[in-house]
Every structure is written in C-alpha cells, then in structure tokens.
C-alpha cells in the first residue's frame, strides 16, 4: 500500500434533512447538516473532525459509514466512486470501513459472549469453520491486549476501558482500512483514556489504518491526528495539519474553539470567555459567512458574501480575513492544492 495514497476522498458532500410539518407533511425547509464539505483521509493517518454539537461532524461520519445517503457530492474509496459500485463492491466497502462508538456500555450486546461479539462480522461476511472463527477471535483479543479467557465472558464482566477494547477488536475483525472513531474515549475514566488512545495509535502504526476521528476533546485531537478539519454549521472553516491548526489557528472560529479548551495548568487560566452566544439553528443559517453572528473580527462584507476556502499559511481557511479577491466564487476543490496540503512535508512528528 502506498504511503500516502488517499483512501477516502470526499468532494462537495451535502446532506440535507427535509423538515415536514402538519397533517399533509408539507415540506417547510431543510436542515443543512452538511453543506459542501471536501476532505480526504490517507492510510496510516488520522483526520480529526472537530466542532460544536450541530456542526455536522456526526452526519459526515454517518455518510462515510454508509448509514445515510448523501444529498449530493461524491465519495471515492480507493479511487472508486461509491455511487457507481455494484453490490459486491458495496459489500467490500462496508468491510473496509468500520466504526468504534462512544459508549461501550451501549454498543455491545449484553447477551452475547465476547467471542461472538467480536467475530460476528466474520460470520456475516465470510464462510469460516467454528475452529477458524475462534482462532480468529483469540488473535483479535491479543491484538487489543485482552487475555484469552475473555472470549467466553459477557460484556458486563468488563470495565469501561476493557469494553472499548472489545469494541475495537470487533471493528478490526474484517481487517478494515478506515475506522470511524466517534468520541472513542469520552465515556471513559481519565486514567483509562491514555491506554485506549495509545492502543489506537499502536494499531494504526502496525496495521496502517486510516482513522476518521470525531471528538470535542481538543487535546486528544492535537495528540492523535495528522490533519484537522474544523466544521461550523455544516461548513468546513479550517483544514490543515493538526499541529499548525492547534497551535496557530487562523479562522476566528478555530481560534475561539481552541481558546475555549481547558488549561492543563492553573497558570494558563484565561481571562475572557472566547466565544459568546450559541450556534444558530441549521434550519436557517446566517447568510454570508455562517459564523459572522458570533465572530469577533466581523466585517461588513461577512454578512453578504460567503467566504471561499483559500490557502493560507499551509492550510485552507474560509474567512474574509484571508480571501484576497472580493466577490470570488465558492471554492472549487482542486486536487493539486489539496495534494500539496496533505503531502508528507506537512505531517508534523511523522509516523512512528
């Protein structure tokens, strides 16, 4: 597998949910949950999607997992357009993309033994004998650092961290290429989080996995990811290398978001609240730049024109502070531009 080949390539993704009211279920509008979002995920790398609740990050993940059909836009997996795939191709896609969810108390069936839970994807997708399945199960447990005897136990016999390991083992059963991590450590105790984050990092290094990492824990983003996509009300506002975005955010929203992160030491206490008010309703997003109602650097132009995503300081930013040409059209995805962005020279730290 090539080092930095994009495994998933999303272009102009839109997902609108119709709002119907009354007896006749008349269409009264759309919730624009995801509105023209483009990104790519590369094997062995982690893309983090961050933003406040309602920004569309979970909807994006659902579309990637095939749980929601996109309203428009294309998703390419290893170069193949998902919409043109036949049944066998779709099956292959679903095998290659797996998920780990937030709450391991809700995501594991309490009536199934661990062995059955983690090998269920194998039983569904492959014809294997009982012995083979068990053998596979033991290998998966070993991979996530659980003892062999766990295979015959039930989920309730495990702590939160161990359950999350079981969920990870299940996600790994079909040797996927991309794993969607939806808040994988938010429900865990503080002393357990580091264990799971380390495990995910090790697995990525060993198996060359790509991660789509959805979280609101900004420190975990800086720690885990290669690239960060910041979303606000269904739009991408900033997209670039994790370290650069976390330490020198450019978009006023990203700045406010990272300034709102809690300090790691009492000496770093902040004086002011970085962002007032609340996210407006996605049913009627503000015109122009969607962030202009809360922005500290708002200009007259912001309420009229929607800012395009432009190249600034080694990343893409959608803000009029950085767009040189007034009245420029909406940003069109350019392979060349994005390619240079996610090229190895931008990945800080490097792969272990």
């Amino acid at each position: 597998m090539a080092e930095n080949s994009p495994i998933l390539d999303v272009r102009g993704l839109k997902k609108f949910f119709p709002i119907r009211r009354g007896f006749l279920r008349t269409l009264v509008g759309h919730i624009r949950a995801v509105d023209d979002v483009s990104f790519d995920v590369r094997s062995g790398e982690t893309l983090a999607l961050v933003g406040e609740s309602g920004c569309g990050k979970t909807t994006t993940a659902k579309v990637v997992l095939g749980l929601e059909a996109p309203t428009s836009g294309t998703l390419r997996f290893e170069g193949a357009d998902l919409q043109t795939l036949d049944a066998a191709g779709r099956r292959r896609y679903r095998r290659s993309v797996q998920a780990v969810f937030q709450d391991p108390f809700a995501s594991l069936n309490p009536r199934m033994r661990v062995g059955a839970i983690i090998t269920e994807p194998l039983v569904v997708h492959e014809q294997l004998g009982r012995g083979q399945v068990r053998e596979h199960g033991l290998r998966l447990l070993d991979l996530v650092g659980l003892p062999e005897r766990s295979i015959d136990l039930f989920p309730h016999e495990f702590s939160g961290g161990q359950r999350q390991r079981i969920a990870i083992a299940r996600a790994l059963a079909l040797e996927p290429k991309l794993i969607v991590l939806d808040e994988p450590v938010s429900a865990l105790d503080v002393s357990i989080r580091a264990q799971i984050l380390n495990l995910l990092r090790d697995l990525q290094a060993r198996l060359g996995l790509a991660y789509l990492f959805i979280t609101h824990d900004l420190a975990a983003v800086a720690y885990m990811s290669h690239t960060v996509a910041v979303m606000y009300l269904g739009k991408l506002v900033e997209f670039g290398p994790a370290r650069a975005v976390a330490t020198e955010p450019q978009h006023p929203y990203t700045r406010a978001l990272f300034a709102a992160a809690l300090p790691s030491h009492p000496d770093e206490r902040r004086e002011d609240v970085p962002l007032a008010g609340e996210v407006p309703s996605p049913l009627a997003p503000p015109p122009g730049c969607r962030f202009h109602t809360r922005c500290s650097a708002v200009m007259e132009r912001c309420s009229r024109e929607e800012p395009p995503l432009v190249h600034t300081d080694g990343r893409l930013v959608a803000c009029h502070l950085y767009s040189p040409t007034p009245g420029a059209g909406p940003w069109q995805p350019q392979r060349a531009a994005l390619g240079s962005l996610t090229s190895p020279s931008f990945t800080t730290g490097g792969n272990p």
Binding site: D189, A194, H216, A219, A260, L275
Partner: protein
C-alpha cells in the same frame, strides 16, 4: 481559616443485598467562604456521594455511617449528619444555605412545569414574598445568568432550552436564595467546550459578586486547573491528596495524582508521542484492595507495606496533605511530617514530566 463547611472522617456506606459498598470511607476536608474547592476523582471515587451526604440526600440502602459535617452559619454551627433528612432545619438549609447544580440539567428539571414555576417554587419556599415578587426575582436571576429574553423563558419548559441555557437555568435555580455554598456536580460535562467556558466564567463571576463558596465536583483536571483554589483528590472513597491548586499541579505527591496528571493529553504536547498510562482499572466496589486502595495500580508499590497497612492523610509543609507510605512518618513519632523535601519520586516512572513550569 474560617471554614464555612467542615467534613470530618465522613463515611457513607451503601448496604444492598449483595454486600457493603463503602462509597465514602473517611473523607476529611473544609471549604471557606469565597473559595472554590475542586473535588477530583474518577467514577466510584465517592465524590458525588460526598456531595449528597452534605445535602443529607443519601438514598436507601445508603446512609451516613459516621463522621461529622459541620456547617458554620450565622446562627452557629450545625452538624448536618445529626439532622433528619426531612427535618425542617435540613430543608431550610437545602437551597437557602447550600445550593446544588446537578450534572444533567434535563433530568433535574421537571418536564411538566415551566422553568419559571420551578425557580419561583424555590423562592416562595424560603422567603415570605408574593408571587409577583417571586416572578420578578426569577426573571432577574435568569437575566443574571445570561439567558436572553428572560421574561419569555420563564414560561418555557426545560426541553425547549438548549443544553447551555438549561444549565444556566439550573444555576439560576440553585442561586435563587443566595446560598453560601454552591455544590456543582460535573456542571459542564455534557456541554460543548465553548459553552463549558461560558458556564465556568459565569460561576466565577457570580462568586466574585456574592462571595459564595463553590464545591466543584469533576473528573476533569482541566476544570480544576481553570477554577479551583484548593483541590481534594479522591480514590475509592478516600482522600488521597489535598492542597492548593498550584501545589497539586506543580508538585503532586501521591502516585495516583502524579499518574493522573501525566496521563492527560495537552494541547502543547508533541503529537503522537506515547501518553503515560495508569495500569489496570478501577477495582469493583465489592472487591476492594487491602491496605492502600491504590496499591495494585501503583508504580511505587512496596510489598509488605502498601498491601497490608492503610496509610493516613499526613500534612506536609505548606498545607499539602497526602495519604501514602512514601510520606508517612516512620517509627513512633519520628519526623512528624516529612517536611520540605519529599522523596524524589516520579523520576523513575517513564513518560513525561509533570509540568513544564
């Protein structure tokens, strides 16, 4: 120190059919007026049960087994553990002297009463005022906690508010009778980072305005770093370390506190380096370790000591207190407190240093 509330050797146990759960097993700490005390710990450490004990709201099969909770009020000193939960005195303390903000504002508000009627209920219970007056105060409270269109919001129900507004309304309700002490149990856990920052700022502003004490219960060391003056670290029902917030972050003494601080990722970290971890997981409440409760996970475990005897909370120089054999006075009454230099620990553990300061 003029303590407003003193908790001494509090033990709150639960007695379900299967055995005894020692939810709080000898907690001791104090809170002064105008001060914020951060109570940190992971699930099962007894921080919420401690708060419920202070409010005398421990539900069956649990009860306060021993210890005292002294509330120093204008009227004198009251031991809350001696009051019946439904007594007149206890009810006049709850809400009026001690306010409470719960973690989940959705389940704390009644779904069938308006926000306004619930705030007014608290005001009318503790004060002799007319309904009109109570409503005016309610609107004023909602305005003070930063809820826009407060007049209008009084007549809405909890489900009509967003998470952040609901938590603000919860705080308004807790403040309705100007309590001396506000207990906030994970007040921002369910909220977005930006809303979290707003709520913490609000609590700080309100504290500056009326000088109330805040007992902030959280598992999040970031919240503690942002808010607390003093910190109590709990593990399995016991206080393992306490001290001023800077001391805890700069020179944590207990191996558990040190490990907790090391294990959190920070924004300034080098990306994709290994995080230091704490081995094992929190023991099941029916399966408590002997001796020091942390010994099965402790990197500095001493065989024959930590698994046999229970360490006591010992005060070190500078007011920091720690419950660990690394700091216990040896012998009969030797160096009563390990003054000044503690044994240099932490250096042997792999991983990152505690702080960069």
């Amino acid at each position: 120190m003029d303590a407003l509330l003193e908790v001494k050797d509090l033990k709150t146990y639960f007695f379900p059919d299967e055995g005894v759960v020692r939810a709080v097993d000898g907690a001791t700490f104090a809170i002064s007026a105008g001060q914020t005390l951060g109570v940190v710990g992971e699930s099962g450490c007894g921080k919420s049960v401690t708060a419920r004990s202070i409010l005398n709201l421990v539900e069956a099969p649990g009860r306060i087994v021993s210890g005292t909770i002294l509330l120093h009020d204008d009227f004198g000193t009251i031991d809350i553990t001696r009051l019946r939960p439904d007594s007149r005195t206890m009810r006049s303390i709850r809400g009026a002297v001690i306010g409470y903000v719960f973690q989940e504002p959705m389940s704390s508000f009644s779904p069938v009463h308006t926000i306004g009627s619930q705030i007014m209920e608290a005001i009318l219970y503790h004060n002799r005022v007319s309904k009109r007056e109570a409503r005016a105060r309610g609107v004023e409270l909602l305005r003070r906690v930063g809820i826009p269109r407060a007049e209008h919001r009084m007549d809405e129900y909890a489900f009509q508010l967003s998470g952040g507004l609901r938590q603000r309304a919860m705080i308004a309700t807790a403040l309705a009778c100007e309590p001396k002490l506000l207990i906030a149990d994970e007040p921002t856990t369910a909220l977005d980072v930006t809303t979290q920052a707003q709520i913490l700022e609000l609590l700080r502003d309100l504290q500056a305005q009326n000088g109330m004490a805040i007992m902030l219960i959280t598992h999040n060391l970031g919240v503690v770093a942002e808010m607390a003056d003093n910190v109590v670290v709990m593990y399995l029902g016991r206080v393992v370390e306490e001290g001023a917030v800077n001391d805890i972050f700069n020179q944590a003494r207990h191996p558990y506190t040190q490990a907790l601080l090391r294990s959190i990722a920070t924004l300034s970290d080098e990306p994709r380096t290994r995080l230091a971890t704490i081995s094992g997981s929190i023991p099941h409440p029916y399966n408590r370790p002997t001796g020091c409760l942390f010994h099965p996970r402790c990197p500095q475990f001493m065989l024959g000591t930590c698994d046999v005897d229970e360490p006591r909370l010992v005060e070190l120089a500078g007011g920091q207190a720690v419950s660990c054999f690394l700091y216990q006075p040896s012998g009969v009454s030797g160096q009563a407190s390990a003054d000044g230099e503690a044994p240099s620990i932490g250096s042997s553990v792999d991983g990152r240093k505690l702080t960069d300061g």
